[in-house]
């Protein structure tokens, strides 16, 4: 098991005051909170910081942790055999209880913030609802269909330790589901202790980036490159859409950024989203003499100052 240097994780000195630790936590929590942060490893960092804070904010746990002495991160670690005697841990809940093995071996079930305990009390007799989040391919909502989802679920094992268990489910994705919406699977949540109905499983859906389409709520956007003459003169061209290739007519006098709307061809929710084609002007390269000549003729035929609006 890996030794964790909680002081280093929090970026505080080993003799930091409680106020300094709290301040450091708040700063890091804001930086790495998965709902706010755009750092890539935000979730992992946030958990690490939460765990470090859980230990350092409590005088008991901090004293016990300090007693271990200074290990080195990455070093193999076993708690001393008599470790933990004389300390009593009580935790008043902070974060999601996905603590490291290191934490669990030191503080075990009592040390953990009581997430499981505070629940269930609200509606006795019924199992807790579970929540999960998945990233689906856009096709799942465009066409609907079964997808195999791997969910990580916190569970209390036989020894009362909190473990993260993998659960694989085949789920029929409802056609037209939008990012941020939930699939509700009745009875797939936790079973209550004793008799009673199990809770539900709520799966929040988001989508992986699609190579062609950008997703904005229920609408889809496609950037469509067109030649300058197609934009200027109007043209009809083959265009991919989620429901297959269509012939798209672009009007004469179109310009870069012109948006064409294909009503109802976005995500098939109710009401369905729209499909937007955003034009991009692609310039043919002037590599040979003929192409250069064409550009020159172009310039001669059309007195045009693209920077007129800049006053130059």
């Amino acid at each position: 098991m890996e030794y964790k240097d909680y002081y280093k994780i929090m970026g505080v000195a080993r003799d930091a005051t409680e106020a300094q630790i709290k301040q450091a936590y708040r700063k890091l929590a804001r930086k790495y909170h998965p709902d706010v942060s755009k750092e890539k490893d935000a979730e992992a960092r946030f958990k690490e910081v939460g765990e470090a804070y859980e230990v350092l904010k409590s005088p008991d746990k901090r004293a016990a942790y300090d007693q271990l002495g200074q290990g080195h991160p990455g070093q193999d670690f076993r708690p001393p055999p008599d470790w933990g005697s004389g300390f009593e841990f009580s935790g008043a809940g902070t974060s999601d209880p996905a603590y490291s093995d290191f934490f669990e071996s030191l503080f075990g079930a009592q040390g953990r913030a009581g997430a499981g305990n505070r629940r269930g009390a609200f509606h006795p007799g019924r199992g807790e609802d579970h929540h999960a989040k998945v990233l689906l391919d856009l096709d799942a909502t465009l066409r609907g269909g079964a997808r195999q989802l791997t969910l990580r679920m916190p569970e209390i094992d036989a020894d009362g330790r909190l473990v993260s268990k993998e659960r694989v489910l085949n789920v029929q994705v409802p056609k037209g589901i939008l990012p941020g919406q939930h699939i509700r699977l009745a009875g797939q949540g936790a079973r209550p202790p004793g008799e009673g109905a199990p809770g539900d499983l709520f799966i929040e859906v988001d989508f992986q980036p699609h190579p062609l389409y950008k997703i904005e709520g229920r609408d889809l956007y496609l950037e469509l490159p067109v030649a300058p003459w197609e934009a200027a003169l109007g043209a009809s061209m083959k265009t991919p859409t989620p429901t297959g290739t269509v012939d798209l007519k672009i009007p004469a006098g179109s310009h870069a950024g012109s948006k064409l709307r294909l009503k109802g061809r976005g995500i098939p929710a109710s009401p369905p989203g729209d499909f937007y084609v955003v034009l991009q002007i692609a310039l043919p390269p002037a590599t040979d003499a003929e192409a250069k000549g064409a550009y020159a003729a172009f310039a001669a035929a059309m007195p045009f100052n693209p920077r007129a609006s800049l006053g130059v």
């Binding site: 929590a29 946030f46 509606h123 489910l169 085949n170 939930h182 797939q188 079973r191 997703i215 904005e216």
Partner: protein, 102 residues
């Protein structure tokens, strides 16, 4: 809790049909009913129907869970949660727009 791998589970889109009461939200988010009421009073949650009892749209589930996470993890008070939620939503909207723009 465990279900066979080969069985395909079907579920509905929760937000489309759901009409939630304070009690529903309290159960789904494992939080006291009074706390839901506080969220409404602070403008974190919006009630869409008041009689015979308070009703919320299905979207309130996501909002409540987000509000609870912010409150717990960042140690924010209610006013802080309300402000953070508004800013997060604006940020998400802007990021999506940025993504949807050429």
């Amino acid at each position: 809790m465990s279900s066979p791998k080969d069985q395909t589970l079907s579920g509905a889109i929760f937000e489309e049909s759901a009409v939630l009461t304070v009690k529903d939200l309290s159960r789904m988010c494992a939080v006291d009913e009074r706390h839901i009421v506080e969220f409404v009073e602070e403008g974190v949650l919006e009630v869409v129907e008041t009689a015979p009892e308070w009703h919320f749209t299905g979207a309130a589930l996501r909002r409540t869970r987000l509000a609870l996470r912010l409150e717990r993890d960042l140690e924010l008070n209610l006013a802080g949660v309300a402000l953070a939620l508004e800013l997060i939503e604006e940020l998400q909207h802007l990021r999506r727009q940025l993504q949807a723009r050429p």
